[in-house]
Protein backbone atom coordinates (compact mmCIF):
# COMPACT_ATOMS: atom_id res chain seq x y z
CA UNK A 1 0.00 0.00 0.00
CA UNK A 2 2.94 2.28 0.69
CA UNK A 3 3.97 1.99 -2.97
CA UNK A 4 0.58 3.34 -4.03
CA UNK A 5 0.83 6.15 -1.46
CA UNK A 6 4.24 7.15 -2.84
CA UNK A 7 2.88 7.09 -6.39
CA UNK A 8 -0.17 9.23 -5.55
CA UNK A 9 1.88 11.67 -3.45
CA UNK A 10 4.33 12.14 -6.33
CA UNK A 11 1.30 13.00 -8.51
CA UNK A 12 0.41 15.84 -6.10
CA UNK A 13 -2.08 14.12 -3.77
CA UNK A 14 -1.43 14.34 -0.03
CA UNK A 15 -1.60 10.80 1.41
CA UNK A 16 -1.91 9.10 4.78
CA UNK A 17 -1.29 5.36 5.11
CA UNK A 18 -2.87 3.47 7.99
CA UNK A 19 -0.74 0.60 9.32
CA UNK A 20 -1.09 -2.52 11.47
CA UNK A 21 2.47 -3.68 10.72
CA UNK A 22 5.06 -1.18 11.88
CA UNK A 23 8.05 -3.08 10.48
CA UNK A 24 6.57 -3.36 6.97
CA UNK A 25 5.48 0.29 6.95
CA UNK A 26 8.97 1.42 8.02
CA UNK A 27 10.49 -0.61 5.18
CA UNK A 28 8.12 0.64 2.46
CA UNK A 29 8.46 4.17 3.85
CA UNK A 30 5.29 5.97 2.70
CA UNK A 31 5.11 9.79 2.99
CA UNK A 32 2.87 9.75 6.11
CA UNK A 33 1.56 6.88 8.20
CA UNK A 34 -0.54 6.25 11.30
CA UNK A 35 0.13 3.00 13.17
CA UNK A 36 -2.67 1.27 15.08
CA UNK A 37 -1.36 -1.63 17.15
CA UNK A 38 -4.28 -4.00 16.46
CA UNK A 39 -4.29 -7.52 14.98
CA UNK A 40 -4.41 -7.79 11.17
CA UNK A 41 -7.91 -7.30 9.81
CA UNK A 42 -8.64 -4.35 12.14
CA UNK A 43 -6.72 -1.53 10.46
CA UNK A 44 -9.36 1.07 11.37
CA UNK A 45 -10.96 -0.35 14.53
CA UNK A 46 -13.03 -2.99 16.24
CA UNK A 47 -16.31 -4.31 14.74
CA UNK A 48 -19.57 -2.79 15.88
CA UNK A 49 -17.85 0.05 17.77
CA UNK A 50 -18.52 3.18 15.66
CA UNK A 51 -17.55 5.61 18.44
CA UNK A 52 -14.13 3.96 18.77
CA UNK A 53 -13.75 3.79 14.97
CA UNK A 54 -14.45 7.52 14.84
CA UNK A 55 -11.87 8.36 17.53
CA UNK A 56 -9.27 6.22 15.74
CA UNK A 57 -9.81 7.99 12.40
CA UNK A 58 -9.80 11.43 14.03
CA UNK A 59 -6.43 10.67 15.64
CA UNK A 60 -5.14 9.30 12.35
CA UNK A 61 -6.38 12.14 10.12
CA UNK A 62 -4.70 14.62 12.42
CA UNK A 63 -1.41 13.27 11.04
CA UNK A 64 -2.15 15.01 7.71
CA UNK A 65 -1.16 18.26 9.39
CA UNK A 66 0.94 17.23 12.41
CA UNK A 67 3.56 15.18 10.53
CA UNK A 68 6.07 17.49 8.94
CA UNK A 69 8.93 15.16 8.05
CA UNK A 70 8.54 12.85 5.01
CA UNK A 71 8.45 9.22 6.14
CA UNK A 72 7.12 9.96 9.66
CA UNK A 73 4.78 7.54 11.41
CA UNK A 74 2.29 8.64 14.06
CA UNK A 75 1.75 5.98 16.74
CA UNK A 76 -1.97 6.05 17.60
CA UNK A 77 -2.83 5.96 21.32
CA UNK A 78 -5.02 2.83 21.36
CA UNK A 79 -4.38 -0.71 22.48
CA UNK A 80 -6.31 -3.81 21.45
CA UNK A 81 -6.51 -5.27 24.97
CA UNK A 82 -4.68 -5.33 28.31
CA UNK A 83 -3.82 -8.92 27.52
CA UNK A 84 -1.04 -9.12 24.90
CA UNK A 85 -1.36 -12.81 23.98
CA UNK A 86 -2.70 -11.87 20.51
CA UNK A 87 0.78 -10.58 19.69
CA UNK A 88 2.45 -13.88 20.60
CA UNK A 89 -0.08 -15.70 18.41
CA UNK A 90 0.46 -13.26 15.52
CA UNK A 91 4.22 -13.73 15.87
CA UNK A 92 4.48 -17.47 16.37
CA UNK A 93 1.06 -19.01 15.61
CA UNK A 94 0.20 -21.43 12.83
CA UNK A 95 -0.04 -20.34 9.21
CA UNK A 96 -3.76 -19.76 8.65
CA UNK A 97 -3.52 -18.23 5.19
CA UNK A 98 -5.68 -19.72 2.44
CA UNK A 99 -4.43 -21.16 -0.84
CA UNK A 100 -3.89 -18.75 -3.67
CA UNK A 101 -6.72 -19.78 -6.03
CA UNK A 102 -6.92 -17.88 -9.29
CA UNK A 103 -10.73 -17.88 -9.53
CA UNK A 104 -12.97 -15.30 -7.79
CA UNK A 105 -13.45 -16.14 -4.10
CA UNK A 106 -16.97 -15.04 -3.21
CA UNK A 107 -18.16 -14.48 0.34
CA UNK A 108 -21.45 -16.20 -0.51
CA UNK A 109 -22.86 -18.34 -3.31
CA UNK A 110 -25.50 -15.67 -3.84
CA UNK A 111 -22.74 -13.17 -4.63
CA UNK A 112 -21.37 -15.51 -7.26
CA UNK A 113 -24.76 -15.91 -8.93
CA UNK A 114 -25.32 -12.15 -8.95
CA UNK A 115 -21.89 -11.42 -10.38
CA UNK A 116 -22.33 -14.04 -13.10
CA UNK A 117 -25.80 -12.83 -14.09
CA UNK A 118 -25.94 -10.68 -17.20
CA UNK A 119 -28.73 -8.55 -15.76
CA UNK A 120 -26.54 -5.48 -15.45
CA UNK A 121 -29.45 -3.07 -15.03
CA UNK A 122 -30.59 -4.83 -11.88
CA UNK A 123 -27.14 -4.95 -10.39
CA UNK A 124 -26.61 -1.23 -9.81
CA UNK A 125 -22.88 -1.75 -9.32
CA UNK A 126 -19.93 -0.66 -11.35
CA UNK A 127 -19.16 -3.35 -13.94
CA UNK A 128 -16.44 -1.57 -15.88
CA UNK A 129 -13.64 -3.81 -17.18
CA UNK A 130 -11.78 -3.21 -13.92
CA UNK A 131 -14.68 -4.17 -11.65
CA UNK A 132 -15.60 -7.19 -13.71
CA UNK A 133 -12.26 -8.70 -12.74
Amino acid sequence: MGLIARHAEAAGISTLCMSSALDITRAVNPPRAAFLDYPLGHTTGKPGQPALQRRILLEALEAFTSLEEPGSIKILPFQWSEDLTWKATAQMGDDDRLSRHDTPQYQTEEDRLRAESRDFAALRVCRCSECAG
Binding site: A5, R6, I13, G48, P50, F64, A115, L123, G133
Partner: protein, 159 residues
Protein backbone atom coordinates in the same frame (compact mmCIF):
# COMPACT_ATOMS: atom_id res chain seq x y z
CA UNK B 1 6.67 -4.81 21.71
CA UNK B 2 5.28 -4.85 18.19
CA UNK B 3 4.62 -7.91 16.06
CA UNK B 4 7.51 -8.41 13.66
CA UNK B 5 5.65 -9.51 10.53
CA UNK B 6 8.70 -9.54 8.28
CA UNK B 7 10.44 -12.11 10.50
CA UNK B 8 7.27 -14.17 10.73
CA UNK B 9 6.67 -14.26 7.00
CA UNK B 10 10.37 -14.89 6.24
CA UNK B 11 10.32 -17.89 8.58
CA UNK B 12 7.20 -19.20 6.86
CA UNK B 13 8.77 -18.97 3.40
CA UNK B 14 11.88 -20.80 4.59
CA UNK B 15 9.78 -23.56 6.19
CA UNK B 16 7.93 -24.02 2.88
CA UNK B 17 11.25 -24.34 1.05
CA UNK B 18 10.82 -21.06 -0.85
CA UNK B 19 13.45 -18.44 -1.43
CA UNK B 20 13.23 -15.53 1.03
CA UNK B 21 10.75 -12.83 -0.01
CA UNK B 22 12.44 -9.71 -1.31
CA UNK B 23 10.79 -7.03 0.83
CA UNK B 24 10.49 -3.56 -0.59
CA UNK B 25 12.88 -1.28 1.29
CA UNK B 26 12.70 2.37 0.26
CA UNK B 27 15.54 4.23 1.82
CA UNK B 28 15.07 7.25 -0.41
CA UNK B 29 13.06 10.10 1.08
CA UNK B 30 9.39 9.72 0.11
CA UNK B 31 7.67 12.31 -2.10
CA UNK B 32 5.96 15.05 -0.14
CA UNK B 33 2.82 17.04 -0.91
CA UNK B 34 1.46 19.03 2.05
CA UNK B 35 -2.31 19.50 2.25
CA UNK B 36 -3.23 22.53 0.17
CA UNK B 37 -6.26 23.38 2.30
CA UNK B 38 -7.79 22.28 5.61
CA UNK B 39 -9.23 18.76 5.68
CA UNK B 40 -12.66 20.31 6.26
CA UNK B 41 -12.49 21.65 2.70
CA UNK B 42 -10.77 18.66 1.08
CA UNK B 43 -12.19 15.99 -1.17
CA UNK B 44 -10.92 12.79 0.44
CA UNK B 45 -10.24 9.57 -1.45
CA UNK B 46 -10.19 6.12 0.13
CA UNK B 47 -8.18 3.10 -1.05
CA UNK B 48 -8.37 -0.15 0.90
CA UNK B 49 -6.65 -3.49 0.28
CA UNK B 50 -8.76 -5.78 2.48
CA UNK B 51 -10.53 -7.43 -0.48
CA UNK B 52 -13.80 -5.49 -0.19
CA UNK B 53 -16.32 -5.71 -3.04
CA UNK B 54 -20.01 -4.95 -3.50
CA UNK B 55 -22.38 -7.88 -4.02
CA UNK B 56 -22.93 -8.06 -7.78
CA UNK B 57 -19.29 -7.32 -8.54
CA UNK B 58 -16.79 -10.03 -9.40
CA UNK B 59 -14.88 -11.00 -6.26
CA UNK B 60 -11.10 -10.93 -6.06
CA UNK B 61 -9.00 -14.01 -6.56
CA UNK B 62 -6.01 -14.82 -4.42
CA UNK B 63 -3.21 -15.14 -6.95
CA UNK B 64 -1.62 -11.75 -7.53
CA UNK B 65 -4.92 -10.08 -8.45
CA UNK B 66 -3.99 -6.55 -9.49
CA UNK B 67 -7.54 -5.52 -10.46
CA UNK B 68 -9.51 -3.07 -8.34
CA UNK B 69 -13.16 -2.27 -7.67
CA UNK B 70 -14.85 1.15 -7.68
CA UNK B 71 -17.30 1.51 -4.80
CA UNK B 72 -19.67 4.51 -4.84
CA UNK B 73 -19.48 6.69 -1.73
CA UNK B 74 -23.21 6.20 -1.10
CA UNK B 75 -22.92 2.37 -1.11
CA UNK B 76 -25.24 0.50 1.24
CA UNK B 77 -23.00 -0.90 3.96
CA UNK B 78 -24.93 -4.20 4.04
CA UNK B 79 -24.01 -4.77 0.36
CA UNK B 80 -20.28 -4.84 1.14
CA UNK B 81 -18.41 -8.15 1.18
CA UNK B 82 -14.87 -9.14 2.20
CA UNK B 83 -12.61 -11.79 0.67
CA UNK B 84 -8.90 -12.26 1.34
CA UNK B 85 -6.46 -15.13 1.72
CA UNK B 86 -4.29 -13.67 4.44
CA UNK B 87 -6.38 -12.44 7.36
CA UNK B 88 -9.26 -13.64 9.53
CA UNK B 89 -12.36 -12.24 7.79
CA UNK B 90 -14.78 -12.77 10.68
CA UNK B 91 -14.80 -9.18 11.93
CA UNK B 92 -14.62 -7.53 8.49
CA UNK B 93 -17.69 -9.51 7.41
CA UNK B 94 -19.52 -8.48 10.55
CA UNK B 95 -18.54 -4.82 10.16
CA UNK B 96 -16.57 -3.81 7.03
CA UNK B 97 -15.62 -0.52 8.71
CA UNK B 98 -12.72 -2.34 10.42
CA UNK B 99 -10.88 -2.43 7.08
CA UNK B 100 -13.00 -0.07 4.93
CA UNK B 101 -14.11 2.89 7.09
CA UNK B 102 -16.90 4.12 4.84
CA UNK B 103 -19.50 4.77 7.55
CA UNK B 104 -16.88 6.44 9.73
CA UNK B 105 -15.86 8.77 6.90
CA UNK B 106 -19.45 9.56 5.93
CA UNK B 107 -20.02 10.54 9.55
CA UNK B 108 -16.94 12.79 9.58
CA UNK B 109 -18.24 14.50 6.43
CA UNK B 110 -21.60 15.06 8.09
CA UNK B 111 -19.80 16.55 11.10
CA UNK B 112 -17.84 18.90 8.84
CA UNK B 113 -14.45 17.44 9.80
CA UNK B 114 -13.83 16.16 6.26
CA UNK B 115 -15.02 18.30 3.33
CA UNK B 116 -16.42 15.55 1.12
CA UNK B 117 -15.66 12.07 -0.12
CA UNK B 118 -14.59 11.35 -3.69
CA UNK B 119 -17.31 9.79 -5.87
CA UNK B 120 -15.73 6.36 -5.47
CA UNK B 121 -13.58 4.49 -3.02
CA UNK B 122 -11.21 1.94 -4.59
CA UNK B 123 -10.47 -1.51 -3.24
CA UNK B 124 -8.18 -4.37 -4.15
CA UNK B 125 -6.75 -7.57 -2.74
CA UNK B 126 -3.54 -6.99 -0.86
CA UNK B 127 -0.79 -9.56 -0.53
CA UNK B 128 0.23 -9.10 -4.16
CA UNK B 129 3.52 -10.97 -4.37
CA UNK B 130 5.09 -8.85 -7.08
CA UNK B 131 5.99 -5.31 -6.01
CA UNK B 132 6.83 -4.58 -9.63
CA UNK B 133 3.24 -5.30 -10.69
CA UNK B 134 1.95 -2.96 -7.97
CA UNK B 135 4.36 -0.23 -9.03
CA UNK B 136 3.88 -0.57 -12.78
CA UNK B 137 0.31 -1.81 -13.10
CA UNK B 138 -1.88 -1.04 -10.08
CA UNK B 139 -0.51 2.25 -8.70
CA UNK B 140 -0.62 4.22 -12.00
CA UNK B 141 -4.20 3.15 -12.76
CA UNK B 142 -5.40 4.06 -9.28
CA UNK B 143 -3.63 7.42 -9.35
CA UNK B 144 -5.25 8.15 -12.71
CA UNK B 145 -8.71 7.57 -11.20
CA UNK B 146 -7.91 9.73 -8.16
CA UNK B 147 -6.75 12.61 -10.36
CA UNK B 148 -9.86 12.29 -12.55
CA UNK B 149 -12.01 12.55 -9.40
CA UNK B 150 -9.98 15.59 -8.27
CA UNK B 151 -8.99 14.10 -4.93
CA UNK B 152 -7.09 16.47 -2.61
CA UNK B 153 -6.15 13.97 0.08
CA UNK B 154 -6.05 10.19 0.18
CA UNK B 155 -6.49 7.75 3.05
CA UNK B 156 -4.98 4.30 2.41
CA UNK B 157 -6.13 1.37 4.52
CA UNK B 158 -4.03 -1.78 4.07
CA UNK B 159 -4.58 -5.13 5.74
Amino acid sequence: MHVDYITRIDRKYVSLGYDPYRWVVNEARPPWQPLRKPLSRCRLGLIASGGIYVTGQVAFHYKDDTSFRAIPREVITEDLRATHFAYDLTDARQDPNVVFPIDTLRRLVKEGIVGELADHAYTFMGGIYSARRVREHLAPRLTERLLAERVDALLLVPV
